[in-house]
């Protein structure tokens, strides 16, 4: 009997932490108990993105969107909806302030999103290679291996204008070309899944929700540059992603999509996992390679770039998870299709982790060039509790604050940099009127100081010096000359540091001074940083209803 009804249970980490696994199991057993196991297919998927409202259960084709589901609710969903076909009003999502229920695609959180990279997340069972293949998976690899030369793949990526999503936005085809051009017999492909930006989890969701897309892309990269070995460097803090990747590798190997002589093409490619161990700097590519080599993750001065001299001294392509996940679609749908999405200089989409003081916290994918206002107020549903928007931090600890007046800038790699911030990996933290910018700057600087590897002088000592100055301001003990000092030391770091961590580490402090100098000045007169920064109050407000 054809299964026409699908019940999708979110199996992302956030939802899983609120018992989505029990929910999934309950639904399955309860359906079986009622003899409906044949007619409804229950799928545990990757993250839907709307983590704020998790655990989420979605029923197709009805597009019913149940939020904050508990294991006690499943009986009702099964009996009412899956058996009798009646939507459970009580659990269905309503837009804030709205009276009526919103169905999946109507939800404003999703409406403006374009899901390219997240195409499969929340739709398929990430633990099933068949479902991936069912949605066109490994078609790109097949096509590349049977019909395309390496140069054709590169040309497609060039047409697509794909730029690295790891932060720097370096054109992917160029990177691949460098490695392809190297004469060494051994080359590597490395997937950067270190995702160190605190407050960002795009890569995690992709790996948990659609692991094969990354494997497929790595194989395509291997074929293109002439590498037969891939490594995924993944944070040890992502056990679920690790588990799903391991399963995906095993499954792909089992049916010959990875391993020796794939599709009889003579091309062989293997993928192994290597775990990170809690070091933000290991997201930096040269540090990452050191870490894979089993060493301290200290960056190395570039050039030479990894593309030419990377892992164990061999040419190595390093790409971010999100960069890779987009590649199979670029191959199947064509570079031109992809280039039409997004902005002039930055084609395609970008996934952001929208968090902080925002109603709809979650993971979103939008075309490049969308304005921040659209993201914060339309998709994100604005600021909770009627508070006023103060700033949004993009680029995580390397980025800067963007204020109200710039909310209408269409965002891409270049515009964000123009605003003194950066794209980074895609963290987007919204702050409201209660947040002290000195505190936020101090938070980021402390993070950067903690995460500095310590190799180079400006970052090791300069960062610590700024941190201390910020601590002084937050206690209201800043001195007038200290503002300038922060700026001076910040410039030393920007100019002098060895790697991107140090050159960007002062950004949060510098941008807070640019936009909120008055807070610094005020702190000196009031004797303390503005009160009510995050903290207790917010925690109380956020206490979940159920």
């Amino acid at each position: 009997m054809a299964q026409s009804v699908f019940c999708l249970v979110c199996g992302g980490t956030a939802c899983e932490s609120s018992d989505s696994d029990t929910i999934y199991k309950n639904i399955k057993t309860q359906l079986a108990g009622r003899g409906f196991e044949e007619s409804v297919q229950v799928v545990k998927t990757g993250c839907f993105g709307f983590c704020e409202q998790g655990p989420i259960v979605k029923v197709l084709p009805d597009e019913s969107f149940y939020v904050q589901v508990t294991p006690e609710d499943t009986e009702e969903i099964v009996d009412e909806h899956l058996v009798k076909g009646r939507e459970v009003q009580r659990l269905a999502y309503k837009e804030p302030g709205a009276e009526t229920i919103s169905r999946g695609h109507q939800i404003s959180f999703y409406q403006k999103q374009v899901r390219v990279v997240l195409r499969n997340c929340g739709f398929i069972d990430p633990e099933s290679i068949d479902e991936y293949i069912g949605r066109g998976g490994y078609e790109a690899l097949g096509r590349v291996l049977s019909d395309m030369s390496a140069d054709e793949v590169l040309a497609e990526l060039e047409t697509a204008g794909l730029r690295g999503r790891g932060g720097a936005g370096f054109p992917t085809h160029k990177k691949w070309r460098f490695t392809k051009a190297a004469t060494d017999t051994q080359k590597y492909v490395v997937c950067n899944a270190d995702e160190g930006d605190p407050g960002a989890y795009m890569d995690r969701s992709i790996l948990e929700g659609d692991p094969h897309s990354v494997l497929e892309a790595m194989a395509i990269a291997g074929y293109t540059v002439g590498a037969d070995q891939g490594y995924i460097y993944i944070r040890a803090e992502y056990p679920l992603a690790i588990e799903r990747l391991q399963m995906a590798i095993r499954d792909a190997e089992a049916i010959g999509l990875l391993g020796d002589n794939i599709f009889d093409s003579g091309f062989s490619f293997r993928v192994e996992l290597r775990y990170g161990a809690g070091a933000f700097v290991c997201g930096e590519e040269t540090a990452l390679l050191k870490s894979i080599e089993g060493d301290r993750g200290t960056p190395v001065q570039r050039p030479p770039y990894p593309a030419v001299k990377g892992l164990w001294g061999k040419p190595t392509v390093i790409n971010n998870v999100e960069t890779l996940a987009g590649i199979p679609v670029i191959i199947t749908k064509g570079g031109e299709w992809y280039a039409r999405l997004g902005s002039e200089t930055s084609p395609g989409t970008k996934v952001f982790a929208l968090t902080g003081k925002i109603n709809n916290s979650g993971l979103i994918e939008v075309p490049m060039g969308m304005t921040l206002r659209d993201i914060v107020f339309n998709i994100g549903g604005g600021i909770p509790d009627g508070k006023a928007f103060k700033a949004v931090q993009t680029g995580g600890p390397s980025g800067g604050m963007i204020t109200e007046e710039y909310l209408d800038t269409p965002i891409d790699f270049e515009t964000l940099q123009g605003l003194g911030s950066m794209m980074g990996s895609g963290g987007m933290i919204v702050m409201d009127e209660d947040d002290s910018m000195i505190d936020v700057a101090k938070f980021y600087l402390s993070f950067n100081v903690d995460e500095s590897c310590g190799k180079c002088v400006p970052c090791r000592i300069g960062g610590r010096q700024i941190q201390k100055l910020l601590e002084r301001f937050s206690k209201g003990q800043g001195r007038p000359e200290d503002i300038e000092r922060i700026e001076t030391i910040g410039n030393w770091m920007k100019q002098g540091s060895l790697c991107g961590l140090g050159t960007t580490a002062p950004n949060p402090a510098l941008s807070s001074i640019t936009h909120f100098r008055h807070e610094y000045e005020a702190s000196m007169s009031t004797g303390a940083a503005e009160e009510g920064a995050g903290g207790e109050q917010a925690a109380k407000n956020e206490a979940p209803a159920g």
Binding site: R296, W312, V449, S452, C456, V457, I461, G463, W492
Partner: protein, 961 residues
């Protein structure tokens, strides 16, 4: 070569240079702190940043590769500000108390603080590291002064290969740590002090210098290390303010041919010099003194062995030089008169200079009239001299130390390089780090085995099977360089025939080395294959079609030579090198690592019973005539003299009646010392020159005090045949005299007594002696003190214009064609049996030198290793119930010793190892002095049969009964 611009100057540079190197080479100084010319660039301090024209970013010049057309600016306002900021930041995390700081004056941080006018930080002062660690007698680790430049970590890993230190923690809290912060002495630190040498600040400081003065107050004297044959050049910082010069610390020098780093002995082993037990005056033993009326009390030499005797200084009475010299002259004259010159024998010394040795053998040959002169080379590389002379025509290292670094494949066998020739070990480590393959064939898991591509762990005495199988594979698999074989060698056919039966499987059965490893080793060695990286010579890459054969170099030492078939083994290694075509080119060759600081020179200058200086045979009439003329002798002894072991036998038999030793301590170093003691006691007369009252001196009637290498002039010839000049750093103690002066004085007196020309002994300086040497020994023909400088000269150097010969046998072997020798697979002479089931092998450890007269008196070295020990395999230990650190008894047919067990996996099961440095557990009580190598007469110090027992267990069984 590429062309680029630095500060507007056009310069040319090599493609592989960094901008900083190119600038420095062209006299443009760029500030720098983390950079060190011997280490890989770090790029961490950011001081060397320069501006690239056309880019708005600064970049460190120490990591930037030069490129054609590149233009950089090294000084600008922006760079000044940047560098100022770096120093400002650094001193915010630094005590900056230069006034009392030991490093003041050479401190690089201080230099830049001065340059940028920074006397205190403009920032908040905060130390990231607070601890001062004082956990060893050699150096202090004063963390607050550390600027985390990482030089120490890199030198320890990249050069020394000890991997003792690493950064711990990260960021602002980073510090230089040992494993789990254990004290230095419990880490893998080898106390080479290289980290201290490269440290730009006072974070690492030699303790010996503390309180001895400020940097600018020290004199600096460069001389050559007197321990091993590497011959490192050492710069001593000396305080000359006091009554006597006092060494503050030792340092390698950048212009040294062997590199700028030292090992623990060169670095810290100099404090023996001021030890209060130094001999300061001639001594006469009380029995002889009484006999001669020098004392009134009769006295009898006790029976107690010198190995256990106490207060032996009381055996002697001090006398003046004239008296002592008079006695020796009389006694030796008497022996010659009564029993002929052949009744006298002398041991010269590889610890002594070329000039000392030349005079010593001249004394024996020209004045006394015998060829009975030998020295410790007999126990050492005698088989090399014989074997390589037969194969190539010359018995020394074919290539030089500096070439090791660039080899593609290094084959080490029977050499514990990192302990016995540590600085060559550094070169091996560097080669391996840059991608060379390393094959180690040694029964023990020596430190370099850890870095090896393959460790062929052959059972003692079975390596010959492995080598023969390698030859077999090279021929079978057509890996040989047949062009070389055809053009440069002879007797290939006899070799080919001799190895057909030795296939890898057969060899595997005997040696325990897997056949596959033997095959792989043969392939790597023959083709000179690298594991990684690019060869300096462009070859050695597997699978690269156009690639030529890489460069393979053999290094070997006592594991090969101290064997009853040592000469055959040496010939086999020569076979390997010739078959692979690895001869006569840079970074190839057969390289015997000579042991003592001047063992090469002692051999070169004829301290051997069969050759005159320059390896001219005593049995050759023309040579004899030549030397007779030069030395004003009527006739010289026509027969080769006695070798060491033969001398001892002859002494015991009463054929040799008087002996004269200079700088030898056979009571510890000769095989079967029980036997040696008997021989020496049975002599009519024994005189010894030494710097301490050694165990051998204790059996002598007259003992003369010599100055040591730190106190004298002369030359040493190191293992790569490089003649280098010594410069006195200290004054000799008391009345001690340089050996050459002692020998010359004795020569004068003996010549007078025996009626040979006295004017032959008018020497006023070592330089004058070298002039004579160069006139009689063609390989030293061009040696002249004026030419030696800081780099010395490598023989053969036939004339004053000749630049020296770092690589031998280029184009042609010294004997014409290289000769292959068919060699049978012989096992060691004393095989284990039921009664003595274990194989004992003996040798060295890093911190001690031979008989320990000097190193065991060094504070630091003896702290690191106080007592003797026995290495026992963990499985054997378990079977015997022996625990790590507990006593074991080792017994052979000749004697027994007791020492602490060092249980582990260094020796394989069935083998024990005892270092021979410790008289309390003297290895040579056990070793055998029979079954000498028939050609070289070297004893088999590397294998004998022993039993191993657990004394605790014995006691226990007694108790139980």
């Amino acid at each position: 070569m590429i062309t680029m611009q630095i500060d507007g100057h056009k310069i040319t540079a090599r493609e592989d240079q960094t901008v900083l190197d190119a600038a420095l080479e062209n006299g443009i100084d760029i500030p720098r702190l983390c950079h060190h010319p011997d280490l890989t660039p770090s790029g961490g301090c950011r001081l060397c940043n320069v501006e690239v024209v056309g880019s708005n970013k600064m970049q460190p010049s120490c990591t930037m590769e030069v490129s054609d057309g590149l233009e950089v600016i090294t000084e600008s306002e922006g760079l000044y500000d940047h560098r100022h900021s770096i120093i400002d930041l650094l001193v915010s995390d630094h005590p900056l108390d230069c006034v009392t700081c030991e490093k003041s004056g050479t401190c690089e941080l201080q230099r830049y603080a001065y340059k940028y006018g920074i006397s205190e930080t403009s920032l908040d002062f905060e130390l990231g590291r607070e601890e001062k660690v004082d956990d060893n007698p050699m150096f202090l680790r004063d963390h607050p002064y550390c600027i985390l430049c990482g030089r120490c970590v890199r030198v320890c890993n990249e050069v020394v290969g000890a991997d003792a230190i690493q950064f711990g923690d990260r960021g602002f809290d980073s510090y230089v740590a040992t494993q789990f912060d254990v004290p230095m002495g419990d880490s893998s630190c080898v106390f080479c002090g290289s980290c201290v040498q490269v440290c730009p600040t006072a974070a690492l400081t030699h303790k010996s210098r503390i309180g001895k003065g400020r940097e600018w107050e020290f004199d600096r004297v460069e001389t050559i290390c007197g321990y091993c044959g590497v011959g490192c050049r050492i710069e001593f910082a000396v305080n000359t303010e006091g009554a006597e010069p006092d060494i503050a610390y030792a340092q390698g020098t950048p212009n040294a041919p062997t590199g700028r780093f030292l090992c623990s002995k060169g670095r810290y082993g100099w404090d023996y010099a001021k030890n209060k037990e130094r001999l300061t005056t001639p001594l006469v033993r009380k029995d002889l003194a009484y006999e001669l009326g020098l004392t009134d009390t009769p006295w009898q030499m006790p029976e107690t062995s010198p190995l256990s005797a106490k207060n032996t200084a009381e055996y002697f009475v001090p006398v003046d030089w004239d008296t002592a010299m008079g006695i020796i002259t009389d006694k030796l004259t008497q022996a010659v008169r009564e029993a002929g010159p052949g009744a006298v024998a002398g041991l010269s010394s590889a610890r002594c200079t070329n000039e000392d040795n030349y005079l010593f053998q001249k004394l024996m040959r020209a004045t006394i009239g015998t060829n009975n002169v030998d020295h410790c080379a007999r126990l050492c590389h005698a088989s090399t001299v014989a074997g390589l002379a037969a194969a190539f025509g010359s018995g020394a290292m074919t290539n030089s130390i500096g070439e090791v670094r660039d080899a593609d494949c290094i084959f080490i066998t029977g050499s514990n390089t990192s302990e016995a020739h540590p600085v060559i070990g550094y070169e091996v480590n560097r080669a391996v780090q840059s991608g060379a393959t390393l094959i180690v064939c040694d029964p023990r898991h020596i430190p370099l085995a850890e870095k090896a591509t393959i460790h062929l762990q052959s059972a003692p005495g079975t390596d010959i099977h492995v080598f023969l199988a390698m030859l077999h594979v090279m021929i079978r698999d057509e890996l040989a360089d047949m062009e070389f074989v055809r053009e440069r060698t002879e007797d290939f056919e006899s070799l080919e025939k001799s190895v057909t039966a030795m296939d890898p499987e057969t060899a595997a059965e005997v040696s325990g080395v897997p056949a596959a490893d033997i095959e792989r080793a043969a392939r790597l060695y023959a083709l000179g294959l690298r594991q990684d990286g690019d060869s300096r010579y462009g070859g050695g890459v597997e699978g690269r079609g156009d690639s030529e054969r890489g460069r393979s170099s053999i290094l070997y030492a006592m594991g090969i030579t101290q064997r009853s078939n040592g000469t055959e083994l040496v010939k086999t290694l020569a076979n390997l090198a010739m078959l692979g075509g690895h001869m006569g080119k840079a970074s190839t060759g057969v390289n015997p690592l000579r042991g003592q600081a001047n063992v090469q020179g002692a051999c070169d200058l004829g301290a051997l019973p069969n050759v005159y200086p320059g390896y001219q045979k005593v049995t050759d009439a023309a040579s004899r005539a030549k030397f007779a003329e030069a030395w004003g002798s009527e006739a010289l002894d026509e027969q080769a003299g006695l070798t060491i072991v033969e001398m001892m036998r002859a002494a015991e038999a009463g054929d040799v009646k008087a002996m004269f030793f200079m700088g030898e301590n056979p009571m510890i170093s000769d095989p079967n010392i029980g036997h040696v003691e008997k021989a020496l006691r049975s002599l009519d007369f024994l005189a010894a020159v030494d710097i301490f009252l050694s165990e051998t001196c204790q059996l002598a009637q007259v003992v003369l005090p010599a100055t040591s290498f730190l106190e004298k002039e002369g030359t040493f010839t190191n293992t790569e045949r490089r003649v280098q000049a010594l410069t006195p750093v200290l004054q000799g103690p008391g009345d001690a005299r340089p050996d050459w002066r002692i020998v010359a004085e004795l020569g004068r007196r003996l010549a007078a007594a025996l009626g040979t020309p006295q004017e032959q002994w008018d020497y006023s300086s070592p330089e004058q002696i070298m002039k004579e040497i160069s006139s009689v020994a063609p390989i030293y023909g061009g040696m002249d003190y004026g030419r030696l400088g800081t780099k010395g000269l490598v023989w053969p150097c036939p004339d004053a214009e000749h630049p020296g010969t770092p690589i031998l046998h280029v184009g042609e072997f010294r004997r014409g064609k290289g000769k292959f020798h068919a060699v049978p697979p012989r096992l060691s002479s004393e095989q284990p049996d039921e009664e003595y089931p274990y194989v004992l092998t003996t040798g060295r450890m890093l911190y001690h030198f031979h008989t320990g007269t000097m190193t065991r008196k060094s504070k630091g070295l003896s702290w690191k290793q106080k007592r003797g020990y026995v290495e026992v395999n963990e499985q054997d230990a378990e079977a015997l119930g022996i625990a790590d650190g507990k006593a074991v008894v080792i017994e052979s047919r000749r004697g027994q010793i007791r020492a602490r067990a060092r249980v582990g996996a260094t020796v394989p099961s069935g083998v024990v190892f005892v270092p021979f440095h410790f008289k309390e557990a003297a290895a040579n009580l056990l070793t055998q002095d029979e079954n000498l190598d028939p050609d070289a007469k070297i004893p088999e110090l590397k294998a004998c049969a022993v039993k191993v027992t657990n004394p605790a267990q014995k006691k226990q069984t007694v108790k139980e009964q």
